[in-house]
């Protein structure tokens, strides 16, 4: 039987920012299948012009309240590259610790509050409070822990205060680090419980493979997050490294007439960023405990099911917790040295790449001789994923149609797909808001 299906999800729920899903199928023929982004533009990069280098990170942090730690880190790193500042090993370690806090924090919110309701068959976390009280309490406890963990280093987690070009405006004390370590250690059993919860509902994750290119920060020393170059991996396992300063050549932002968002591409027609892209690029450098969890959840590289991004996030939470305990032990053993922020040695242009929870983030700034910003550019992971989401739609809708899914099932699956990417749409600084003919 030839079907008519009309899906029009206006302002998709349980994602950050505003996105629409539109699918029109007439007599079994797909006439329209689109992921649209109607978010209001904010022009944050233009606002950086004329601002002193010490102020720029506090402005670009405001691009996103969820990834504000990552934006701040990307911002100060790019500024430091432009100002010829080499930060100390202690600064790098503390920033990496802060980055782990943010990734764990954001993944907890995404997996528990935004994705889990679909897997439990609930419209939100609120109906789960009476039915799954322990799960909700555990989620709120873990969220609070990550907030305290990040605040111990960054001052606060939404728009951190202490991260400045050259180092930190205030350092945690050894006592602060010992306290946060004790809290993280106490939360380790909650990770095991998280694993059990996810395993109990993992059967509801749709099976759908679409090979694509995966881009992530990559380092020889660690699972790339704060530090490293850029790398992509193709579905056949071919890897290639790129220098951060070449970021424009590998992101290739372009305007597609069929899309609301600016698209990016590198070797293939689109690429993916995020936890799954990091997992596919950097699996070998995961903490052994995280590898164990990956095996238990049945995910291994190269995984080409975009719905598994949420599973890769669970693996990353375990990695961040154990890796941070290791970093904390080192810092506690060495003690915190009072270090003045490093001063600029030049005023020029610098770029950076940092992994935020949703994927690779690029910042670039130019400075004049007074240290005032003359140009800023930020390329955000969600922007880089828009083209990949669209390509997933184009492959998934015919499959769902062939599988005989009805309108409601198709709508839910497409919503789940978008949510799996954990899009952060108000972050997506570069997009074009095209009106579609209805």
């Amino acid at each position: 039987m030839k079907k008519d299906i009309n899906i029009n999800v206006h302002h998709l729920t349980r994602v950050e920012g505003h996105g629409n899903i539109v699918v029109n199928i007439k007599d079994g023929t797909i006439e329209k299948c689109q992921w649209q982004v109607p978010e209001a533009p904010r022009f944050i990069e233009a606002m950086c012009r004329g601002r002193h280098y010490s102020e720029v990170g506090r402005i670009t942090s405001r691009i996103c309240g969820i990834c504000s730690v990552g934006h701040t880190l990307a911002s100060v790193k790019a500024t430091e590259a432009g100002l010829g500042i080499e930060v100390t090993p202690q600064t790098k370690k503390l920033r990496t610790l802060l980055k782990h806090a943010e990734n764990a924090d954001s993944h907890i919110v995404h997996v528990y509050f935004l994705v889990a309701p679909d897997l439990f068959g609930a419209p939100s976390v609120f109906p789960l409070i009476p039915t799954h009280t322990d799960v909700v309490k555990r989620a709120l406890k873990l969220k609070r822990l990550c907030h305290e963990w990040g605040s111990a280093i960054g001052g606060r987690t939404t728009h951190p205060t202490t991260v400045i070009p050259g180092g930190f405006s205030k350092l945690p004390t050894k006592n602060d680090l010992e306290e946060i370590k004790a809290k993280i250690v106490a939360a380790v059993p909650d990770l095991a419980a998280t694993l059990e919860t996810i395993k109990s509902v993992a059967g509801n994750i749709p099976a759908f493979d679409r090979p694509t290119e995966y881009m992530a920060v990559c380092s020889d020393k660690e699972y790339g997050l704060y530090d490293g170059d850029v790398q992509t991996v193709l579905p056949d396992g071919t890897k290639e490294k790129y220098d951060v300063s070449d970021y424009r050549k590998i992101t290739n932002e372009y305007v597609s007439p069929a899309s609301t968002a600016k698209y990016t591409k590198n070797k293939l027609e689109s690429y993916a960023a995020g936890a799954l892209a990091r997992f596919n690029n950097n699996y070998d450098l995961l903490h052994p405990e995280a590898k164990k969890v990956a095996a238990e959840l049945g995910i291994k590289p190269i995984c080409v099911n975009p719905f598994m991004n949420s599973v890769a996030q669970v693996v990353e939470v375990v990695h961040s917790v154990h890796e941070s305990l290791r970093i904390l032990d080192e810092l506690i053993k060495d003690g915190i040295k009072e270090e003045e922020p490093i001063k600029p040695t030049k005023f020029a242009t610098g770029a950076s790449a940092v992994e935020v929870p949703r994927g690779i983030l690029f910042h670039e700034y130019s400075y004049d001789n007074e240290g005032m910003c003359t140009k800023a550019n930020c390329i955000i992971p969600t922007n880089q994923n828009h083209a990949n989401i669209q390509k997933d739609f184009e492959a998934l809708v015919p499959k769902l149609l062939a599988d005989g899914k009805d309108e409601k099932q198709m709508e839910l699956t497409l919503e789940m797909l978008v949510r799996a990417y954990d899009p952060c749409i108000s972050c997506s600084t570069h997009y074009l808001d095209v009106k579609f003919v209805k």
């Binding site: 944050i44 990069e45 506090r58 996103c64």
Partner: protein, 250 residues
């Protein structure tokens, strides 16, 4: 007594103030739910309602005429409207582009003229609808929001400080940023945050807006004389979070 029906809405912003709501921890958050019923919150719920609501919490600035209708609908449904976070309360950082004319070209280059990139001045939501209370700050202080909600649930009038951040630094025993060779604009900034920024070694940038009748001339003079700012930098410093509150706001 029936629980107050509370709904959350978002406009142009980073949604960081919503995220602050998830940082209360299990005990405080679940306790809050003993007193209010959250009936709509797009970022975390698929449930929606067309019913009247007791308290609407609105985040984000009013930046597009197209958003006016949605704001008016919220106003019509809600007994109390609270603008939470700097973007909704004052326009916040979004207003930092209001004095510029070339921001579209800077970000979009040759595509800047496309009609759908339309963006007006970033304004507080009070430019479109009547607002009953504001929770200032970028990000807002989540405990101030709780305090205001608690006051409203007990029929008390919330008190929002109208003294400068300097008072809170003195109270905290925080060394003045000027003493440290830095600058600060806490002299004209509205307190209520507990002055975390100077305590963390960075200047106050007035993310909560200004006290009533701020002395802008004196601020500029201090920035030039004590912090050795250029005339231009001193002139524009307070735009970062409070462009709409300056006497030259357009």
């Amino acid at each position: 007594m029936a629980k107050a029906k509370v709904a959350f809405f978002d406009f142009t912003c980073c949604e960081g103030c919503q995220i602050e709501m998830t940082n209360f921890g299990d005990a405080a958050f679940l306790e809050l739910l003993n007193h209010v019923e959250i009936v709509e919150f797009r970022e975390v719920m698929s449930e929606k309602t067309k019913e009247p609501i007791d308290i609407a919490l609105v985040e984000g600035s009013f930046t597009r005429e197209a958003d006016r209708k949605r704001l008016e609908e919220i106003r019509n449904r809600a007994k109390i409207v609270i603008a939470y976070g700097a973007c909704a309360a004052t326009g916040g950082v979004n207003a930092l582009k209001n004095h510029m004319t070339d921001y579209k070209e800077d970000v979009y280059g040759k595509d800047a003229g496309m009609p759908h990139l339309d963006s007006q001045k970033a304004l507080p939501i009070s430019a479109a609808i009547k607002v009953d209370y504001c929770v200032y700050g970028c990000p807002m202080d989540k405990y101030e929001l709780l305090r205001i909600l608690s006051h409203l649930l007990h029929d008390k009038e919330p008190v929002i400080p109208n003294y400068p951040v300097c008072v809170e630094c003195k109270r905290n025993g925080t060394i003045c940023r000027y003493q440290e060779g830095d600058h600060c604009i806490g002299q004209v900034a509205r307190a209520g945050c507990g002055a975390p920024c100077p305590a963390d070694g960075i200047p106050c940038e007035a993310c909560r807006g200004f006290v009533d009748k701020p002395n802008e001339k004196a601020l500029k003079k201090v920035l030039i004389e004590k912090a050795k700012f250029s005339e231009k930098r001193a002139e524009s410093k307070s735009r970062i979070f409070s462009a709409n509150l300056r006497s030259d706001a357009q």
